[in-house]
């Protein structure tokens, strides 16, 4: 798609879409039990009324409009309306608590808020006294707000009515404002939910979002015929690109679900052709399918297993347009008729042309399952600072353990230290009011540090292995990426957590937590009695199972040019589950390496001595806050790696 320099802002593009796609559906929302829709023309009219209305309550150039709520058409219109006036939309995560919202409002200097409903309005009104810049709160859903006696509250409809009046008196005003904006103007602030400290406001220009959207849409051949379900948070960069940027660029239709609870059902009704979901969603779907299959009759189970095996062998090849024998092709066709098509229909994936997943590593099993059904799910690697796209997997070159090749227009390189850095059209302008952080993240030549360690494999695909600060080296100088190894282990259903050790050591060892549900089930089926997690974890057969998993990981690692030295030599199964209450994990279940290293130093010493077992005493915190001591003799097993 050639670069469109005429339409370098979203409002200009909206006018363009209203003429080229006029009566095509732009947005749908499920309301009153049916899908209500708006054409591109109607969207333009709605946005312009809102923009004119915002002007009547003093919103103008450089002002910030915070947008708080779920995926509602009116909130998306709010983004564009603010941009019409040269203002800056600042979407806020709907589930943020009041203090977080207050921080963002104050930091961005927000003067107007567009809130979805009473819940959001209550939150904003609560913090209003502490936010000096805040003047007006506009709400979409008036339910429960009738008796609110506050001067600053406005109904969305009233604002649009005021806008209608203003537009009739001053018809040229809005067009003039729209013409004054250009691609290099600030388009949006997206606050990243920092894991530590306060969130940072990523400033993206119109060009950042528009050019990235155009490039990525062109790469996947997205057109106005695409259907997308907008269900991820508005404040997340992904939703801004997929449901706003790419939607305006291609003219595709955005569908807003009825509520959080109905997403699965709405997905099925819409049958999107373009879809994004984090790995967790695919994982849960696969689990649901498997559980429901266990309840099916024996014949159906047999049929399912038989044809999933066929799909596993040929499905991915067909998807990648590789040669497949006529017999396999016919068998796959039969399977499609009997199993795959109905299954995809149940999940709402019947029409998917392109689906993406990103955010964390996705298990090869899960990835393979969906691809073998003919669902073109691909991985991408992105950041808010890049307006999402850094790398993405092109059609036909999809490998479970890579994140693809650099996106169009983006340059990616690996620094001496092994860090992935990039520059390109999507690179953010700055962190709002945070010079220091901006300088840390982006150098003068426009290269942005990702903080991730990675390398290009032989196919030229980027492989992300860990956070750069966690990556170490073995004593022989080989790269050691703990999270990469841990993720590989955690892909096995029997392994719940893993801690890999090896930085500054001679070889890699791991400490494992088994998954009590999965292994417990297995123990039940195999008549292995056990009274506690500790007893099950120490069972020789469980060790044997873990050993098999680890050897599988080792086989994968051998094939890896950079990480073959990281094969696991010794391991043990921990006598207790790593727990956030004991400080071993963060609340989001990430391993806290330093604390584990201190707490289990005896075990770690034993892993690096020749010992076959180790006695350990650990303090644990029970759910009611009481503390106790667990004692155990842990076996240490050595694999065949030398």
């Amino acid at each position: 798609m050639p670069f469109d320099c005429m339409n370098d802002t979203f409002p200009k593009l909206l006018i363009h879409n209203a003429s080229r796609f006029a009566d095509r559906t732009a947005v749908r929302e499920k309301d009153m039990g049916i899908w209500q829709s708006w054409t591109w023309k109607e969207v333009r009219d709605e946005v312009f009324l809102l923009a004119n209305g915002l002007a009547t309550i003093g919103f103008g150039r450089g002002d910030k409009l915070a947008i708080a709520g779920a995926n509602r058409p009116r909130l998306y219109w709010g983004i564009c309306a603010a941009q019409c006036l040269g203002g800056i939309p600042v979407p806020i995560y709907a589930d943020s608590v009041a203090e977080e919202v207050l921080y963002v409002l104050n930091h961005a200097g927000v003067s107007h808020v567009l809130a979805e409903d009473q819940e959001q309005v209550d939150k904003i009104l609560e913090i209003m006294p502490d936010c000096e810049t805040l003047e007006y709160v506009i709400y979409d859903d008036s339910r429960g707000l009738r008796d609110y006696d506050t001067d600053c509250l406005r109904d969305f409809v009233d604002i649009q009515n005021a806008g209608r009046e203003r537009a009739s008196k001053n018809p040229g005003f809005l067009q003039g404002e729209i013409d004054r904006c250009s691609g290099s103007d600030v388009g949006i602030f997206l606050y990243t939910s920092g894991t530590t400290g306060n969130p940072k406001g990523v400033v993206l220009s119109n060009d950042n979002v528009l050019i990235t959207s155009r490039n990525s849409a062109a790469q996947d051949g997205l057109t106005e015929n695409e259907e997308m379900l907008a269900y991820l948070p508005l404040a997340w960069v992904g939703d801004h690109i997929f449901s706003y940027g790419q939607a305006y660029v291609t003219g595709m239709c955005i569908n807003c679900p009825e509520s959080d609870a109905t997403v699965a059902n709405d997905l099925r009704e819409i049958g999107p052709t373009y879809y994004f979901a984090p790995p967790r969603v695919f994982e849960n779907l696969l689990t649901t399918v498997m559980i429901r299959m266990e309840d099916a009759g024996r014949f159906k189970q047999w049929l399912f297993d038989r044809f999933m095996e066929i799909a596993r062998v040929t499905g991915v090849r067909i998807l990648d347009r590789k040669p497949v024998s006529l017999k396999d092709r016919l068998l796959y066709r039969l399977g499609d008729w009997l199993i795959y098509a109905p299954l995809k229909n149940t999940m709402g994936f019947s029409r998917i042309r392109v689906a993406y997943t990103a955010g964390e590593a996705i298990g090869p099993e899960i990835f393979g399952f969906f691809r073998s059904l003919g669902i073109n799910i691909k991985q991408l690697y992105g950041q808010t600072e890049a307006a999402v796209f850094i790398t993405a997997q092109p059609d036909g070159e999809v490998y479970a353990d890579t994140v693809g090749i650099p996106s169009p227009g983006v340059e990616v390189k690996i620094t001496e230290a092994g860090e992935v850095v990039y520059r390109g059209p999507g690179v953010f302008q700055s962190y709002y009011r945070n010079e220091e952080a901006t300088r840390e993240a982006k150098n003068d030549e426009g290269w942005v540090m990702t903080g991730d360690a990675g390398y290009f494999d032989d196919n030229g695909h980027l492989k992300i292995i860990d956070r750069i600060k966690d990556v170490g080296r073995l004593n022989n100088g080989a790269l050691f990426a703990p999270k990469y190894i841990e993720n590989k282990l955690k892909f096995f259903p029997q392994i719940k957590e893993a801690v890999a050790l090896g930085g500054g050591r001679d070889y890699v060892s791991v400490m494992i937590n088994i998954d009590l549900d999965a292994v417990g089930n297995w123990a039940e089926r195999n008549n292995i009695p056990y009274a506690s997690y500790q007893e099950l974890a120490g069972h020789p057969d469980v060790y044997k199972m873990a050993l098999e998993n680890i050897q599988q990981v080792n086989r994968d690692l051998v094939a890896d040019r950079k990480l073959s030295a990281s094969r696991i030599r010794r391991f043990l199964i921990l006598h207790k589950e790593l727990d956030a209450d004991d400080g071993e994990l963060t609340r989001t279940r990430k391993v806290r390496r330093r604390i584990i290293a201190e707490k289990y130093d005896k075990l770690i010493d034993a892993l690096y001595s020749g010992a076959d077992s180790c006695h350990v005493q650990t303090e644990v915190t029970f759910e009611d806050g009481r503390k106790g001591i667990i004692e155990a003799n842990l076996d240490i097993m050595t694999t065949d790696v030398t």
Partner: protein, 262 residues
Amino acid sequence: MLPDPSNPLLEVKDISLTFGGVEALKDVSFEILRGEVRAIIGPNGAGKSSMLNVINGFYYPQKGEIWFDGQLRDHMKPHDVARLGIARTFQNIALFKGMTTLDNLMAGRIIRMKTNLFWQALWKGPAQREEVEHRERVEHIIDFLKIQSIRNTPVGRLPYGLQKRVELGRALAAESKLLLLDEPMAGMNLEEKEDMCRFVLDVNQEFDTTIALIEHDMGVVMDISDRVVVLDYGKKLADGTPDAVRNDQAVIDAYLGVSSES
């Protein structure tokens, strides 16, 4: 909007109800004002549900008058009372378990349907137009009670708290002037209770529905009701705002319990 005391929506005067020798209600009088949330409380067997059944037309009192909307009410069947504008929910949920949430709510609209059986069976023209109107009304309630995700789920498969909510929805669908809730929060956990409180208050405000409710949870009653009637052994013990009732000596002795110091 403050309720107007001169023009009550419902007035019960000197109601007495006996079952054989058992006096369930004895000379009970009170009124329910337009737009208020009115609670009826009392220990087990105090006559709360009997009172609701009297208002509802299910029981006919031996003595006393019932004035609804400014008119003295005759002996009426419950369905006639319903048509008059009084809807209710039940202590132990009385939904059609095999039907979906949507169908249950549509059932609540039946008393508002105008087309006759012939047109309904034919399912064209006026019947269809009417159905669409009713469906719109019901969808409004579904949205209001946030039960979109269970629209097409058979009610019998729903958890208890949601069934209660569906029952409230069905009562709302009847577009009544007075809504009688018989222990709407019974058997709910704290979170469900909070949700239900919110819904009761919102119904009161949003639909301008007058609400009379029976409830055991004192915290709930005191928080959400405008005025409270206290019954004990079929007699009215006290009547007034939650604060007044809470400090009423007779109520404290009979129901809330005597504090250990006194």
